[in-house]
């Protein structure tokens, strides 16, 4: 039941966590994902780039939802519509993903 579940982003949220906040699988909820973003003011922070970390996270992402979210915060051009094969060797893409997932808040 939706009423028993409280799940709210407090403070600014990064797109990686946003991507995980799905209500898929919740009973009686049809369209719970992705959550729409109302970005008031985004800001950037610096997080050390860790190629292994990003590569590990990619399979856990809902790519379509990520592209949608990135669009909401003005970063659509950083991501291809579909995740290309061989992404683990595309350092440029991995760096852009690092930025979109962890540094935009």
């Amino acid at each position: 039941m939706l009423g028993t579940i409280l799940l709210t982003a407090v403070r600014r949220m990064k797109l990686m966590t946003h991507n995980m906040l799905t209500s898929k699988g919740m009973k009686n909820v049809k369209e719970g994902f992705p959550l729409k973003i109302q970005a008031e003011e985004m800001r950037n922070v610096d997080i050390d780039y860790d190629r292994d970390f990003i590569t590990r996270m990619i399979p856990k992402l809902d790519w379509k939802a990520l592209v949608f979210a990135a669009q909401c915060v003005g970063h659509k051009e950083d991501l291809p519509d579909t995740l290309p094969e061989g992404y683990e060797n595309d350092n440029e893409l991995l760096k852009r993903l690092h930025h979109v997932l962890l540094e935009v808040i």
Partner: protein
């Protein structure tokens, strides 16, 4: 790696609960304990630096901040209480912690209703409600959720007096228990029903791993 003393001195600056709630068993994890825990998790096991970490029942963020300072790439703090999260948010801002985020949620619901969190995190740490008063067994309920969310280890604190029960329950779950340290936890006289000024209780710092 940051020194233990330095970590502890950062943590001492955190704001505590304004009016702790008995039903949620809210009390701040003492800075020296949080520092010891986070430092050990990194120094002995390498389970924070570069990791995706969750803190269940984060309260004012003592362990969330400690994990971030120890180099976690991303820490997500979960708590049900918006008052605690408000203070937590201020703590993160005051210390300019940029690797942490907060989600308001009932911890016990996380594994059942939000399947994408399942096995998402590299490491989960928590200082759960000890399950005293009307809340018996709450600590192990939290650990059970933590084990669902982590594909790696879970680090938690439990009353030493319940050690036998914890080992027995974990073994039934097929989970390894490693008692890493026995700590003295100074519970301040936060609540009216506490008669003494403060009570020292013995607490086990435990690492759980799925066999």
């Amino acid at each position: 790696m940051i020194r233990l003393k330095e970590l502890e001195s950062w943590l001492q600056d955190l704001q505590d609960f304004e009016s702790p709630k008995v039903a949620l068993e809210q009390y701040q994890t003492p800075p020296h304990i949080a520092a010891h825990i986070a430092h050990t998790i990194q120094a002995s096991f390498g389970d924070l630096e570069g990791k995706l970490v969750a803190d269940l029942g984060c309260g004012c963020g003592m362990l969330t901040v400690a994990a971030a300072i120890m180099g976690a790439t991303s820490v997500v703090g979960f708590d049900i209480d918006s008052d605690a999260l408000k203070i937590c948010k201020e703590n993160l801002e005051d210390l300019e912690i940029t690797a942490a985020e907060l989600v308001q949620a009932e911890v016990r619901q996380l594994a059942v209703s939000h399947s994408r969190f399942t096995k998402l995190f590299d490491t989960v740490l928590l200082n759960p409600p000890f399950g005293t008063k009307c809340n018996q067994g709450a600590d192990l309920e939290f650990v059970q959720v933590a084990l669902e969310l982590s594909h790696g280890p879970v680090y938690s604190l439990h009353k030493t007096s319940t050690r036998a029960h914890i080992i027995k329950t974990a073994s039934r779950w097929g989970v390894n228990v490693q008692v890493l340290a026995k700590l003295r936890y100074d519970l301040p006289n936060t609540y009216k029903f506490h008669k003494k000024k403060s009570v020292d209780i013995e607490v086990d710092f435990i690492k759980f791993t799925v066999k």
